[in-house]
């Protein structure tokens, strides 16, 4: 079946003109129509536009043009602005917002000939680890629809796992790509901070946000990153370093690669999770990699550090949503203050408000030093820990999440418990490092992921290790029941 093929094979068939992009697009659109109602993975479907883009891709193919993504359908997380298409960021605040421009990520993927099927559901303003904070309702995990798919990029993850598209974009501020990838059994790549432009990506926490991708294999993720990566003069934090050919190094043997086992990650691991990682480590050593233990002594500070830095930045980033120029505006405001207060009070959900208030508090006079400044210092220490680790090893490895997918509703009333979900992923964001989550087995019939983290701009090495692991295992080929055919 077409939907079980990897992008490389689809591109092959497209280039041999065995299938057309229109056919491929229709195939996925009909799957979405049939399967999405149980998942709620989309906020907006753009079927008509998709068929138009597919026809355009077919025309390019007809002219002899070839490209790894030419004619390939994909889904964009609804955090990326898409010209002329509703862009909600999962919030009532932007329920009426039609973006007047394309995000750089969208522009680049469009240029490569991808076909957008729709915009995926997500936690409101990317704040959440379960996709339950969305104004458009929770996304269900295709492995068990009573479970969350993880968040914040829950719609992209669930849709990729359910084979509703071969590729989906996401963003990762504290684990929002890697955690849902792990909980839905797909491959999720968060590149180095600055590797992919943030222009047109609605900001949550600017110093942590990074665009990335969901796919069903490391090879597919590499093809997408190839197009997404690169300097953008419209994003001052994007970095002008050359983009290597990621596909070229995928097949390099891992012989001699040094992989560090994060002592802090393995310390309190649930036994079944630990067993899966043991298995994975033996695969890596079997492939010629060497493992050794490394320590990041300040890593336990990452959750509290993150929950100061991210809310601080979000409290300022979300000030622009004031009901004046676009987005939600309350009915009959009495005066300016009333307009601000009610538009924001009614437009934002509970988790967003919690973080705006937390962030406002930690930046306030008298508290700034104790919270924000201290968090910046802790962030520096965590970054330094990673730097010293990478003097000894090429990559570090650990679990992506402490547990498999949990029940919808289980953690919604306990934000601290919810925040602890990101305990293994946040470190990479604080240090700006690239990370990838790949499926590594099952616990209670639910997928689990392992995470590889590398030094800045080491995406090629990460993808190489992940790809070699996937050559030696088949975890990434498992489909949830009911979504194989």
């Amino acid at each position: 079946m077409l939907h079980n093929l990897f992008i490389g094979e689809l591109a092959e068939r497209l280039s041999r003109r065995e299938i057309s992009s229109v056919e491929l697009t229709r195939h996925f659109l009909s799957r979405i129509e049939r399967l999405n109602p149980a998942l709620n993975a989309f906020i907006t479907l753009t079927g008509d536009q998709a068929l138009g883009s597919a026809a355009a891709a077919d025309a390019r193919l007809g002219r002899g043009e070839r490209g790894p993504l030419l004619g390939i359908p994909l889904i964009h997380k609804d955090i990326f602005c898409t010209d002329g298409v509703k862009t909600t960021c999962g919030s009532r605040m932007l329920d009426n917002f039609i973006a007047p421009y394309d995000a750089t990520v969208v522009t680049r993927l469009k240029g490569a000939g991808t076909v957008m099927l729709g915009k995926s559901n997500m936690d409101e303003f990317a704040m959440g680890s379960s996709n339950e904070t969305s104004y458009y309702g929770p996304v269900k995990n295709p492995w068990d629809t009573a479970k969350v798919p993880g968040g914040s990029s829950g719609g992209s993850a669930a849709a990729t796992a359910a084979r509703l598209a071969p590729l989906a974009t996401g963003t990762d501020t504290g684990g929002s790509i890697r955690q849902p990838a792990a909980l839905t059994g797909v491959t999720g790549l968060k590149p180095t901070y600055g590797r992919v432009s943030r222009y047109g990506m609605i900001a949550f926490a600017s110093s942590l946000d990074q665009a990335g991708v969901f796919a069903r294999s490391a090879g597919d993720a590499a093809a997408a990153l190839q197009v997404m990566a690169g300097f953008d003069p419209r994003d001052s934090t994007s970095v002008d370093v050359p983009v290597p050919d990621y596909s070229k190094t995928l097949s390099q043997p891992l012989k001699g690669m040094k992989i560090g086992l994060l002592r802090e990650f393995f310390a309190d691991l649930e036994p079944r999770n630990a067993a899966l990682l043991e298995d994975a480590l033996s695969i890596f050593t079997g492939l010629g990699a060497e493992t050794r233990e490394v320590s990041l002594p300040h890593l336990p500070l990452s959750v509290p550090t993150y929950y100061v830095v991210a809310p601080a930045e979000c409290s300022s980033n979300l000030s622009r949503f004031d009901g004046v120029r676009y987005g939600y505006r309350c009915e009959n405001p009495k005066d300016l203050m009333d307009l601000y207060k009610r538009s924001r009070g009614e437009g934002f959900g509970a988790e967003v408000k919690r973080r705006i208030m937390t962030g406002t508090y930690v930046l306030s006079a008298g508290y700034f030093d104790a919270y924000y400044l201290k968090a910046q210092k802790a962030r520096r220490l965590i970054t330094d820990d990673f730097r010293s680790a990478f003097e000894k090893v090429d990559l570090v490895i650990g679990p992506t999440t402490p547990t498999p997918a949990f029940d919808i509703g289980a953690k919604m009333n306990d934000p601290v418990l919810m925040y602890l979900n990101d305990i293994y992923t946040i470190g990479a964001n604080l240090a700006g490092l690239p990370g990838v989550s790949v499926p590594c087995g099952f616990v209670d019939g639910l997928p689990m992921g392992l995470q590889l983290i590398g030094p800045h701009f080491a995406e090629a090495k990460l993808l190489n290790a992940a790809h070699q692991y996937q050559q030696a295992t088949d975890w990434h080929t498992h489909a949830p029941r009911g979504y194989e055919s």
């Binding site: 222009y199 001052s236 601080a312």
Partner: protein
Amino acid sequence: MSDWEIVIGLEIHAQLATKSKIFSGSATAYGAPPNTQADLVDLAYPGVLPVLNARAVQMAVKFGLAVDATVARRSVFARKNYFYPDLPKGYQISQYELPVVARGSLNIMLDDGAVKTVGITRAHLEEDAGKSLHEGLANATGIDLNRAGTPLLEIVSEPDMRSAKEAVAYMKKVHTLVRYLEICDGNMQEGSFRCDANVSVRPRGQEKFGTRAEIKNLNSFRFVEKAIQYEVARQVELLESGGKVVQETRLYDSDKDETRSMRSKEEANDYRYFPDPDLLPVEFDQAFIDAVRATLPELPDQKAARFARDFGLSAYDAGVLSASRELGAYFEAVVAGLNASHAKLAANWVMGELSSALNRDTVDIENSRVNPEQLTGLLKRIVDETISGKIAKEVFEAMWSEGKPADAIIEARGLRQITDAGAIEGVIDAVIAANPKQLADYRAGKDKLFGFFVGQVMKATGGKANPAQLNEMLKAKLGGGHA
């Protein structure tokens, strides 16, 4: 009043003369229809990001070098958070802890000719806000975001000024400087150059500063002077009647000539400054700073010193003539055609007749109807005694209105000075003969009548008699008891 010492510090906002905004590509030109110069970045659309305008940074560095300040090798943009309709992002991008320029100074000249150094605490880059519009809108406020994102250099002085006059002198000096540097057009009516004044008073001799009030948004030198004078009087009166000055922000109402409370310290926003994560710290190397230094023009103080030294001008004259680059250039062009010993004459004419004609007709010196070569032509006729200084003024007026060279006007109107002793003597004799009573009175001791005779002779010659010659000859002719 004299028991109180006035303490003033100014925060000057100079709009930098860049073509585009500090963080977006929109144009900065003044006066466009509302919101036609605001792009998605200025409108703070979701997902957009700021990109720093390198020209604005260069201009700030130029200013820093011109006031002998420390140019920070590393400076940081910070967000100043508050809600207001003319601030689309809900925060202003400014600089807080690490400004681009710190610790500079400027010299100002006081009325008594003494020179005073005013410290410049810092100068930082920031973006301007938009404007709220009320006119012609019923029950609504309009927002014009054309100005939002216009680059500003905020220049913060030390509390070094001790009178409204000093404050104005300092503001004028900064105004002169930014225009010399070509980093700001200095147009105060359009708001390109404006200031906030921090004003306090303290008993003379006391070291501790009094509580200050900040007067916002003063956009003329006259308003700065009047607002400070009013505010000082208000504070002194308050203190002398047993009251207390509260720290607050006040607005100056130029119609009523008073300041009014806008908000108190308690009502002040907590701006929650933090480094803007969308912008990397700005870092310079020495080569960049040296390259900017190489673009510095001769600065006002350097020019004034050169004028005083090379042309023997007083410090005051040198200061006036160097107050703008254009005025200095005009003066130098005039002097170039004369012997350097006549520089004082040129200075008097440029600061006198020329300046008043320019002011009267509100013409910029670059567009003067009498160009430097023409003025030189006129001054040459004074130097060679073809005409007197008085006649020269008449010639100048004719040059101004007719646009012709001095010589042509002198010839056409027959204004050449009479230096022929015989001719002057004839006129003197006729005048004396016609005024026997005045002659008798003069000779009887009424000295003042000498002027009467001078006037009569001048009248008879149409003002063309050489004054020195006339005086000498008249004195000899009148003779009498005047030893």
